[in-house]
């Protein structure tokens, strides 16, 4: 998120969250639950905006309130069939054991190679170009940034393979 995006999100947050909090309160939820659902909705909004797939049929505020409401109902087990927007893929895997295993694997990878993960995030999640990534991470142009990206991906992949070997 750059400064401009952060300002836009802050303004959207300030304008929208109290309405969601009121809605969640009326349905018997807590402030913490309202915040979590709102952050989930903002993630959907920001991800769709990044990939150019955000299709608003109303205002951003109405969109966020709609998604946050679904997220909150889902967290309460009340809306398992409510669909999320097309193209949004939850990262969470349904199997709790696998989820815990991945979470702990990620913690280890963050400790040993945070910069690599940040570079990979910039490419796969933020959709920066390789030229932008080279500038941001201090590489001598797109070619060396591309090589570094694949080295990082290889490193993460090796960590995963090792963890799976130990788990067997």
């Amino acid at each position: 998120m750059n400064k401009l995006q952060e300002d836009a999100i802050l303004s959207l947050y300030k304008d929208t969250f109290p309405d969601l909090a009121r809605m969640v309160r009326r349905m018997g939820g807590t402030l913490e639950e309202a915040k979590d659902s709102f952050h989930d909705a903002l993630l959907v909004y920001m991800e769709k905006e990044k990939t150019g797939t955000l299709q608003l049929h109303s205002t951003p505020k109405a969109y966020l309130l709609g998604i946050a409401r679904i997220m909150w109902l889902r967290s309460r087990g009340k809306a398992s069939l409510s669909p999320l927007p097309d193209g949004y893929h939850p990262a969470d895997v349904p199997d709790t054991d696998a989820e815990e295993q991945e979470q702990s694997l990620l913690k280890g990878i963050i400790l040993s190679g945070r910069k690599c993960l940040e570079l990979l995030k910039a490419f796969y999640y933020d959709h920066f170009s390789m030229d932008e990534i080279a500038g941001k991470f201090g590489y001598n142009g797109r070619r060396s940034a591309t090589v570094q990206k694949y080295k990082c991906l290889e490193k993460v992949r090796e960590n995963i393979k090792q963890a799976h070997t130990y788990a067997k």
Partner: protein, 85 residues
């Protein structure tokens, strides 16, 4: 790029659906023939999932910061206090 990195790049193109039909068929045939390649593809698929988890955790942390920043705004904080009074 060294050969291993070229292979990593190829796996990525497969996982991101950027190979054409013929390339996909050839790649999937290679996976059947090579256990080592199939293992790499599986691990790289998990790597993509971990990158997504990491990215979302970073964004959540930024959103938490925005929330904390807004709690210092008296009007915003008062509204929340009244709603949950």
């Amino acid at each position: 790029m060294r050969n291993e990195l070229q292979e990593t790049a190829l796996i990525d193109r497969y996982l991101l659906g950027r190979l054409d039909e013929e390339e996909t068929r050839a790649f999937e045939a290679d996976m059947i023939m090579s256990h080592s390649l199939a293992e790499k593809v599986d691990a790289q698929r998990i790597a993509h999932r971990l990158i997504l988890r990491f990215a979302r955790a970073c964004e959540r942390s930024r959103l938490e910061n925005i929330y904390r920043q807004l709690l210092n705004d008296n009007g915003f904080a008062r509204q929340l206090k009244e709603i949950f009074a």
